[in-house]
Amino acid sequence: MGANAQTTVPLFVANTVLTAATQNISAATGVPVFATTVTRDAAFGGSNKVLAEGQLCYLESTDVVQYYTGSAWATVGPATASGLVYITGATFTTQSTVSMAASTFTATYKNYIVYLDITSVSAQLQVSVRVNNAGTPRTAASYFWGTGVMNTAGAFSGTGSGSSSTPQIVGADGTRGYHGQINVFDPTNASSYTEVTAAGNGNISGTNGAIFGGYFYNAAEANDGLTFVTSTGTMTGFYRVYGLSES
């Protein structure tokens, strides 16, 4: 319990003696400070002030400011993160292998979005997007993947494999690079396969266009990141990782 925390919210009645200690409780803080919700609830009623709508408090246990609606306590702030929550990112220059650090994906979020922006490459290349297990990319031939590219004439061509170690769902050339979004579904669930989809603009095997790809890694396990591996040459760009808040 901090120096400002109190256990009562005094109620003054006629002839009550106002002591320095009592005065300091409210004068020192303005808003009553409590260690927990338990001490907060115990501080009102009885010989203390009656809890009523509009009452404010600060809770040390959760570092939030609350107000009483008349029937319940509601939190004023700080606001909890919601929607897309930025987790990490990195910039890479002329690399053939770029891996996320261990524990990039955690149980904090169920699903993740990765923005991958390859701004230049040494030559036309495909990029395998592997899952990481405890920070190390899975390299078994257990990726069930498919990728298609639609060119500016609307023609669609695809490739894929039912047992591969190189899920090439991203591709780039020197003119267009690759600019896309990768969705990672429930990667830290140890009892399900990690599913990954990607959509972006780039180049697959010499064809420029809109690229759609996806895979699952054929093992029920918790994975904690991705690794990008070029089929040949190097790439320059950056990635950003976001967790999807449930609220």
Partner: protein
């Protein structure tokens, strides 16, 4: 040969280098197979005397 993990760039370990070489060989084999397949396809088209677009029309 280097690898980037998060923001850190370092030399590959022996295992990572071995995997890189395995990946490179697999890619070479894949490209070789695709090239052979494309050549075989073109040879058939040449024998028939039609283009790939015309073949697609026939099969469509």
């Amino acid at each position: 040969m280097q690898i980037q993990i998060g923001d850190e760039v370092r030399d590959m370990t022996d295992d990572e280098l071995a995997q890189h070489e395995t990946d490179a060989k697999a890619e070479r084999d894949k490209v070789k197979a695709e090239t052979a397949k494309a050549k075989a396809k073109q040879a058939v088209l040449d024998r028939l005397g039609i283009t790939a677009d015309e073949a697609a029309l026939l099969l469509g």
